[in-house]
Symmetry: C2
């Protein structure tokens, strides 16, 4: 890629470049002195200062200050853009229809403007921790089995902490032990100890379910002997569930401010 | 500001620039083909592709793809950076101590690198809608008065919808009417109608509280005559409460993926 870059362009030069590059859905980078008005469900004003503006090929917009990992202003994908150059001010208007929201970015000094044609088909893969798997199960208990209802997690019993403690669809108590890697005999013995400890306490039948992406050789037999169950669960799947829910939260966040 | 910009630099040239600019806590922009490894509570891998990397002066890091308003990888402020150029690959290592997290970004092609000295003291002001004020009160009911407990919101009563319905610390029913601008006599009459409608329904004492940043001339007397209360509440304060809670959500999101 030969990136188009203008350093210290005039407002007219920057305007011309945007007029060419925006309709081609290029990714636009502008660094300069700007102020921003937002009107939507709420409204906001950002006083002048030197910032980075990114407009992506999907029509999303981000204004980044020199500190903080959050953008100060943003719009999700699907914006329609209008550019104007009037009285030595570059005005970028980003409009969303549903909900009706508009962001106006005004530049009076531009240090850098670039139109980028980014080629990117690389996959992003997130691997989850055991704690993340636990969270995913608490959010979607059916990952363990249909009708499973968590009661508590990190429940202290004699030998340590039970990952998740709950009841199955028949009302029987269930102890869940989570492993993010292939579970070996150690994991089974750990689960068995928890089940025994809870049994002694509640004086009722208690089931034990080992949750892991895979089990080692001989572990299935050991589980059967001890009357314990096994449920395959991939940490990646958990990561996606969390990512989805967190993205929802993030979207909520972005929708508002 | 005279921005330092290198277009299509070699890995060595980009390395040299980073070695100079990173210790000076400049804001760094790199556009190029990169892949990213993250290891922390969870871990992630991003396959090669052309992206924008931003390192801010507070030590936060963002990797942005050409679509989506969210960064694909990020680190909050406070990272320590190491840069290397080996075998024609530029490696940027961002390390956080607490929690221990590290992001490695590897570039094999660089289109653009820039070291920016952004001057920005502009204030960001967010103005809230009535719906935002309602949300803030539901999150922090003491904004109305100490001991206030919301029961429901947008409760339908005969003349329309009550903004917030709850009980005060003495167990009396309370109807809250919210205005985001100076409240006039119309607002008082609206509140009075809601109070009467609820009174007729519950057959109990019902208080009415008008919540607004300010009230017009003569409104205080009218409120007193009708036995209604007034509580000053600035929409800006509500916006900050929401922003704070949403930032928490955002931080949670960022902490994980």
């Amino acid at each position: 890629m030969e990136p188009k870059v203008l350093v210290n362009p005039t407002v007219q030069e920057a305007y011309k470049m945007l007029r060419e590059n925006l309709p081609q859905h290029k990714t636009i980078l502008i660094v300069g002195n700007c102020w921003v008005h937002y009107v939507g469900r709420a409204s906001s004003k950002l006083e002048p200062g030197e910032r980075i503006l990114i407009i992506k090929e999907d029509g999303s917009l981000l204004v980044h200050r020199s500190t903080g990992y959050e953008p100060v202003n943003w719009q999700p994908p699907g914006c329609i853009f209008q550019v104007k150059a009037e009285e030595n001010i570059l005005k970028i208007h980003a409009l969303r229809r549903k909900p009706a929201e508009s962001v106006n970015v005004f530049f009076d000094k531009i240090f850098l403007v670039s139109g980028l044609n980014l080629v990117d088909s690389g996959e992003f893969t997130l691997y989850a921790s055991e704690e993340d798997m636990q969270k995913a199960i608490l959010m979607e208990p059916s990952l363990v089995e249909d009708g499973f209802k968590p009661i508590s997690y990190e429940k202290k019993v004699e030998p340590g902490f039970v990952d998740i403690y709950g009841v199955d669809k028949n009302g029987r108590f269930v102890v869940v032990e989570i492993k993010r890697k292939t579970a070996g005999k150690d994991a089974v013995l750990q689960l068995a100890r928890y089940v025994d400890a809870v049994k002694a306490k509640v004086n009722h039948e208690v089931r034990g379910i080992l949750v892991a992406p895979d089990i080692s050789r001989g572990v299935q037999r050991m589980l059967s002997t001890l009357g314990l169950d096994y449920k395959t669960l991939n940490p990646k799947k958990c990561a996606e569930i969390l990512k989805r829910s967190e993205t929802k939260k993030l979207e909520e966040f972005f929708r508002k401010a």
